[in-house]
């Protein structure tokens, strides 16, 4: 028995001997990108790098909510590339001196994938929930994750607010139609777990009539065989994930691979992989290939319509949403 334990311990500590000439980099990427990244993009990048530059590259990836990843990087996690769901997190990394380059100079101002906020309902959508206003109907039970811990929830709250708001006249006060809709929907929210994933766990257990979440999460759940229905509201927000290099953690020998990895995320191959897992590609050509997969949003809006990330965070979440929580 003792010998067995020792063997197990030794085995645990000696997994995968390192090869000296392999370049190692670490990628932190928002939770919902896990499957696309580990199953498709990283293996493809490894092949691509070996073929083109003749060197082995080993990318280890870690996935969690964007806020958690940001905190880990702030806490000293040796990460060279980050893909996060909120610009604010990248700004914070910049403020603390971890990022010194301008991530807005990457293509699409750093946006490497997109999605929209939709809602997931029970099979056949028995309550006929089609717009955000429908979620405000009395007796409707709504789930979304907590905007304090989940980037997706911040987008969800922006979506609800924006669906009601008049973009030419944003006051964020109690008379603002967006705030009215947000308060009405929030009254129906029964749970705000840590992450989008947990909302699905609770929904699976039978709680709630609708989850407000990313379209890619919803498509992924459907692909896993869940019999949910997806409602793409007529007016909803386009979300985006942005990539940045964490300059302070990049050693000279990693420099080249880091640059190539970021470039690779924009290639048709990587974009196709993202699209396969339910994200909306930023590459126009790949977008056309996957045209049929994504419902057209009649009135899409972006966080810029709400005054940009910084203002939207302050006005919609810290102010308007926070007030809806006090009862």
């Amino acid at each position: 028995m003792k010998r067995l334990l020792v063997l197990v311990a030794v085995a645990l500590f000696t997994v995968q001997p390192a090869y000296a000439e392999t370049i190692k980099i670490n990628l932190h990427s928002c939770c919902v990108t896990e499957d696309a990244t580990t199953k498709e993009i990283l293996p493809a990048f490894k092949r691509y790098y070996k073929e083109k530059f003749g060197k082995d590259v080993d990318v280890s990836a870690s996935f969690a909510g964007s806020g958690t990843l940001k905190n880990q990087i702030l806490g000293g996690a040796p990460v060279q590339v980050a893909v996060l769901s909120s610009e604010l997190y990248l700004d914070q990394l910049k403020e603390k001196g971890l990022i010194s380059s301008d991530w807005r100079k990457n293509p699409n101002k750093g946006a490497v994938i997109k999605s929209v906020i939709v809602f997931v309902t029970r099979n056949g959508n028995p309550k006929g929930l089609a717009t955000f206003a429908d979620l405000a109907r009395p007796g409707t039970k709504v789930l979304h994750s907590s905007p304090d811990t989940s980037g997706g929830a911040q987008w969800a709250i922006f979506a609800i607010y924006g669906a009601g708001a008049n973009f030419r006249n944003l006051s964020f006060g109690p008379e603002d139609a967006g705030v009215k809709l947000l308060s009405a929907v929030e009254r129906n929210v029964i749970s705000q777990p840590e992450s989008a994933r947990q909302t699905f766990v609770q929904f699976d257990a039978g709680f709630g009539d609708a989850i407000v979440t990313y379209e890619n999460e919803a498509l992924l759940e459907k692909a896993r065989g869940r019999d949910y229905a997806i409602s793409v509201p007529k007016k909803t927000i386009e979300t985006e994930w942005k990539v940045a290099r964490v300059d302070r953690n990049i050693r000279p020998e990693q420099e080249h691979a880091v640059g190539e990895l970021i470039k690779f995320l924009y290639t048709a191959e990587a974009q196709r992989a993202y699209a396969k897992y339910g994200f909306r590609p930023v590459d126009k050509k790949v977008g056309k290939e996957f045209h049929a997969k994504y419902a057209k949003v009649a009135e899409p809006f972006t966080v810029d319509d709400l005054g940009g990330w910084k203002n939207a965070r302050k006005n919609v979440i810290e102010n308007a949403w926070k007030k809806t929580q006090a009862r």
């Binding site: 905190n71 907590s146 749970s191 705000q192 840590e194 947990q198 609770q202 929580q325 006090a326 009862r327």
Partner: protein, 274 residues
């Protein structure tokens, strides 16, 4: 001869220093750094964070849940300890091992299991739902989670004392004509008092820090069903490290005081039995 004695004391001294040093490094230093963060922006900020209505609501809920969970486990945990120590029945060893399961499985799994059981799709949840009773995402759900997670403490604390208490006093009371309830209330309970005290204190302080099950079953609604640890996690994630550290310090301090009190309460009896 004297050389080996020197070696002995050297070894003893080294062990002592190593244990204390490691304890300092592994346990105390992380706690100290928490303190440093809490007051980094000055004491006024620290006080301001503690005064936030959401923080107060979270702390209040944490205290209430911990009290309730302790009360529930004080009764059923003690009963379980009696069952396991005093009775011999088939499957006793298996049940004895199962008692510690809440310590071994991830608390998130506990939360998930409760959701499945009490959710509209689970048998119990269906039954309750038809009667319009919703336990999850409210205080009762939270309580169920905490009772589950803290269950072993009471059983183990009472069980350990119960093992060492001879039954002769109880037999004597019976011989003297005491009724069963009198034996229990006036002989048995005082004899295992120490175990009950230790169990309740441990249960309470573990409950103060409960996170994994809470985040699944509470609904995490700010100001309503968000407990202290969930509040800390939220604050930390929004980048308000000072707010997170302020409440964390308070919970850590509360736990420390409870455990210190336990030491003080226990030491006289411990000395007496020695």
């Amino acid at each position: 001869m004297s050389r080996s004695l020197d070696m002995d004391s050297l070894v003893r001294g080294a062990t002592f220093a190593a244990a204390l040093g490691l304890f300092f490094l592994l346990i105390l230093l992380p706690l100290a750094s928490l303190n440093q963060y809490a007051v980094r922006e000055g004491f006024a900020v620290f006080r301001d964070r503690l005064r936030s209505p959401d923080a107060i609501a979270a702390l209040r809920l944490t205290g209430l849940v911990a009290l309730a969970a302790t009360a529930v486990n004080a009764v059923i945990g003690t009963a379980m300890a009696f069952l396991l120590v005093r009775h011999r029945f088939p499957g006793r060893k298996a049940i004895n091992a199962l008692v510690d399961i809440p310590l071994a499985i991830p608390t998130v799994v506990t939360g998930f299991a409760l959701l499945l059981m009490y959710g509209p799709l689970g048998p119990v949840g269906k039954f309750l739902g038809e009667r319009n009773i919703q336990l999850m995402f409210s205080f009762p759900g939270l309580l169920l989670g905490h009772v589950f997670v803290t269950f072993p403490f009471m059983v183990r604390a009472v069980g350990a004392v119960l093992e060492s208490v001879p039954r002769s006093a109880e037999d004597a009371a019976r011989t003297l004509g005491a009724k069963e309830w009198q034996v229990f209330a006036f002989v048995t309970i005082p004899a295992i008092r120490e175990g009950i005290v230790a169990g309740t204190f441990l249960t309470f302080s573990r409950s103060l820090g409960e996170f994994g099950a809470s985040i699944m079953v509470s609904g995490n609604l700010v100001g309503r069903t968000q407990t202290g640890p969930l509040y800390i996690f939220s604050r930390f994630n929004t980048g308000d490290v000072e707010g997170a550290a302020a409440i964390a310090i308070l919970l850590a301090l509360a736990s420390f005081l409870i455990l210190l009190l336990l030491q003080l309460v226990q030491s006289p009896t411990a000395r007496r039995t020695a």
